[in-house]
């Protein structure tokens, strides 16, 4: 069975993918549907959903359109999730590959360095970094990437460690290939599957992390984000539930969708590990 067939046979993964595409479409359509800034006050505050046809999700405490905020927030969430994950991979993969391939002292140094980051509570570290560097898109991405690369390093190190003793890697050595080309061409392509799976889950946790930071008021002040919206609405949760509820739902759905897709990818990329019966 091909990869796509296996992926499609997992219904949860398909649903997740559909939700994700929907969110992506919303993010792309944001500037066309709501060309004006989502920060602009467009109507009366505390307008309930569907009270006015123009504002299907209502307005917030300052009369800003919740729907517009939601769609613009999607862009920020997805962008931060993707970019910070890429940045984390950029640090984690080379470090893990070096540790796993060279072993010995290099391994010890890389792993102790990794553990240094793992022993610090990641959310606290992220808060400190953002607070020191001033909240902005760049500092948030940096903070998320800095706290999320250690698991990547551990994963890649483990994979490389088991692959480097494989005969085809040994064969590449006997053929006289250079070390960088052995790592890049023989080993890393065979670690892609677990990395992709992990990356899809990392995007989800990056979105959560960004939302948490924004909720605490450490988001980029120029960007409308879901976390900020939840935070801004929390004091009026009882009488104006929609202000916090819709962005909260958006975070929940996005993270769920990413997890479903990640699990589907994992099953599709490792058909032998997929559930179902004795081996």
């Amino acid at each position: 069975m091909t990869f796509f067939r296996r992926f499609a046979s997992n219904r949860g993964a398909l649903v997740g993918l559909a939700v994700l595409l929907l969110i992506l479409a919303a993010a792309l359509a944001a500037t066309t549907l709501y060309p004006a800034s989502p920060w602009r006050m467009v109507s009366r505050p505390f307008l309930a959903p569907l009270a006015l046809e123009r504002f299907p999700l209502g307005t917030d405490a300052l009369g800003r359109d919740v729907a517009a905020g939601l769609m613009h927030g999607a862009r920020v969430s997805l962008a931060i999730g993707l970019v910070s994950t890429l940045a984390a991979l950029l640090v984690g993969v080379p470090l893990g590959a070096a540790a796993g391939y060279f072993g010995g002292l290099v391994d010890d140094l890389c792993m102790r360095f990794t553990e240094l980051f793992q022993t610090v509570p990641s959310f606290a570290l992220a808060i400190v970094i953002v607070a020191i560097l001033q909240p902005s898109i760049a500092s948030i991405v940096l903070a998320i990437a800095l706290v999320s690369w250690p698991p990547v390093t551990r994963l890649v190190r483990g994979e490389v460690l088991s692959l480097r003793s494989r005969d085809y890697v040994q064969a590449a050595v006997t053929l006289g290939q250079r070390t960088p080309s052995i790592i890049l061409r023989q080993i890393l392509p065979n670690t892609v599957a677990p990395i992709i799976v992990m990356a899809s889950l990392m995007v989800a946790s990056a979105i959560l992390l960004e939302s948490s930071l924004s909720f605490l008021g450490l988001g980029d002040p120029n960007m409308m984000t879901w976390g900020y919206m939840v935070g801004a609405g929390r004091t009026r949760l009882i009488d104006a539930w929609w202000i916090s509820f819709f962005p909260g739902l958006a975070i929940f759905l996005t993270v769920l969708a990413l997890n479903l897709v990640g699990e589907g990818l994992s099953d599709a990329l490792n058909p032998r590990l997929a559930r179902g019966g004795r081996p």
């Binding site: 005969d167 085809y168 064969a171 006997t174 053929l175 006289g176 250079r178 004795r278």
Partner: protein, 541 residues
């Protein structure tokens, strides 16, 4: 003595899931085993021999379903039995011995508890009775110092000892039938010979019926009363061991038997005047265990190993597991750095070179690996895999790919294989690709590390013939590492026998088999299952 058989398999068919390569794993199989009889089921990989064993003990993978027939144990059909009753049958009426003694014992349980567990599962005996019977069993399977063995954990025992514990567990409830699924395949020959003797002796003593699954005709010759030959799930021949081995009727059986290499070496090649291609002197490698507070255990994997190989000659490096033969193979490739000694390819001494200096010289010595499934990168096309060597040595890519196509032809594969991936090929074909990769750099010396031990006998014969043919054409000096004396007898001009890191005997093949000098060589030769009765000379390619 055949009044009613202990096990009667009648018209058994096992259906495979729809995407498998054939509809039935087993088709209309009928077998019977009488008390005290050993039936060997022989076949190559994929013949359905292991599924026959699993069906009998009710442990088929879920995807495989019985599609008809019956498996009768003393008259009772096991196929219709509910899982609860089947659990009672397992252990009490059928004992099972698996292939891997390393993984079929629980590593965190003492030997005594593992054996006693069988009694507990069937509610037999009281505490004291179990303890006594366990010690008796340990003694019966020929383990020394039963009290100490009973307290030991599996990792403290050798492979052979573990297999004896497995046999003790299988015997615990005095079952009517013992199923042994390749019980000696993972063991060294001398251990294998002992285990075969033990199984045979216990069968005679207890009158147990034995269903013995194997791929090795040598083992068949040692142990079988009757033989059933399976091919693609169909039994093509059945008869007494004598009749099947001496006078096989079916073509497939004849082909299988013809592919088993004989222990009688072919006439020697004329190598007079051939220049020395490869020279190893006093090669040593010691592994030191890394202890925190005390010095770890030292293992001399190679200890003063010296040999020469002439152009066009094959030197066999023979020994059991742990003898250091693979370490020597990897040391001369400098995949492992030796501690001392010199290695010369022609006039070039390679030990003193740094890895970077050696890299361009690597083309002169190449390697064929053991496991054809692990030695090819699954994500590269076959053409790229073969061309990689020349490309690394500076040959332009286009030229290298052309060489790859030519080499595929040389090793007997169609050159449209270049754009396909390794998983599309069978084990034998992959080994051909591995050989082509090694030859792409036109080496002087070829190190072959157990190149055929993962292959079926018929494929093995083809690969060996190919290697001999290539050697003749290209004048390769081959260092042939193997544990299989049959293969060594047919392939090698001279043989070095290794034990605990040392070469204990180095002779021409003919002399070694005619008149072995060292006690260890003699023991190895005596332990080869089937001896000189089974096997034939290698066909030429």
């Amino acid at each position: 003595m055949t009044t009613s058989p202990v096990l009667a398999i009648e018209n058994l068919s096992l259906a495979l899931p729809s995407m498998a390569d054939r509809p039935f794993a087993i088709q209309n199989l009928s077998l019977s085993i009488a008390a005290g009889e050993t039936l060997c089921v022989v076949g190559e990989s994929g013949s359905g021999k292991s599924l026959t064993a699993l069906a009998t003990i009710g442990l088929l993978p879920r995807a495989v379903r019985p599609a008809g027939g019956a498996i009768r144990l003393a008259g009772r059909d096991l196929l219709g039995l509910p899982e609860r009753d089947m659990q009672d049958v397992r252990g009490r009426e059928i004992g099972m011995i698996f292939q891997e003694p390393m993984t079929s014992l629980n590593p965190v349980m003492r030997v005594h508890d593992q054996i006693a567990e069988t009694f507990e599962a069937h509610g037999a005996l009281d505490r004291r009775g179990r303890a006594e019977r366990t010690l008796e069993l340990i003694q019966e399977v020929g383990l020394p110092d039963p009290a100490a063995i009973a307290r030991a954990y599996p990792h403290e025992l050798s492979g052979g000892q573990r297999q004896r514990v497995m046999i003790a567990m299988a015997l615990a409830m005095e079952p009517k039938l013992i199923i042994a699924d390749e019980p000696t395949t993972a063991l060294d020959v001398t251990t294998q010979a002992q285990i075969l003797k033990l199984i045979d002796a216990l069968r005679k003593k207890h009158g147990t019926a034995v269903l013995f699954i194997t791929h090795d005709f040598g083992v068949v010759a040692e142990i079988a009363d009757r033989v059933a030959v399976l091919q693609h799930g169909i039994m093509v021949e059945e008869g007494t061991a004598e009749a099947v081995l001496r006078n096989p009727q079916h073509d497939y059986t004849k082909r299988l038997l013809a592919a088993v290499p004989s222990l009688i070496p072919p006439p020697p090649k004329d190598l007079a005047g051939a220049p020395k291609a490869f020279q190893v002197r006093d090669l040593s490698k010691t592994y030191k265990g890394r202890g925190f507070f005390r010095r770890g255990r030292e293992v001399h994997a190679a200890d003063g190993v010296s040999f020469d190989i002439q152009r066009g000659e094959t030197l066999g490096l023979v020994g059991e597991s742990g003898s250091g033969k693979s370490t020597v193979g990897r040391c001369v490739m400098r995949l492992i750095e030796p501690d001392a000694g010199s290695i010369r390819i022609g006039d070039l001494s390679i030990r003193e070179l740094s890895q970077a200096q050696f890299r361009p010289m690597r083309r002169r010595i190449q390697m064929v690996f053991q496991d054809p499934f692990a030695s090819l990168n699954p994500r590269r096309t076959v053409g790229r895999i073969i061309a990689e060597g020349p490309i690394a040595q500076g040959v332009p890519k286009k030229e290298a790919l052309a060489t790859a196509a030519r080499l595929l032809d040389l090793v007997g594969l169609n050159d449209n294989a270049t754009d396909r991936y390794p998983h599309e090929f069978s084990g034998g074909q992959r080994q051909r690709i591995g050989i082509a990769r090694a030859l792409a750099l036109e080496p002087d010396v070829l190190v072959a590390d157990e190149p055929v031990s993962a292959l079926d006998v018929s494929v093995q014969a083809q690969i060996l013939a190919l290697m001999q043919d290539l050697q003749k054409r290209l004048g390769l000096a081959i260092l042939f590492v193997t544990h299989d004396l049959r293969v060594a007898a047919q392939m090698c001009d001279r043989i070095a026998v290794m034990q605990r890191g040392k070469i204990v005997e180095l002779q021409t093949t003919a002399a070694l088999f005619r008149d072995p000098q060292h006690a260890y060589t003699k023991a190895l030769l005596a332990a080869v299952p089937g001896g000189r009765e089974v096997g034939s000379a290698l066909p030429t390619a």
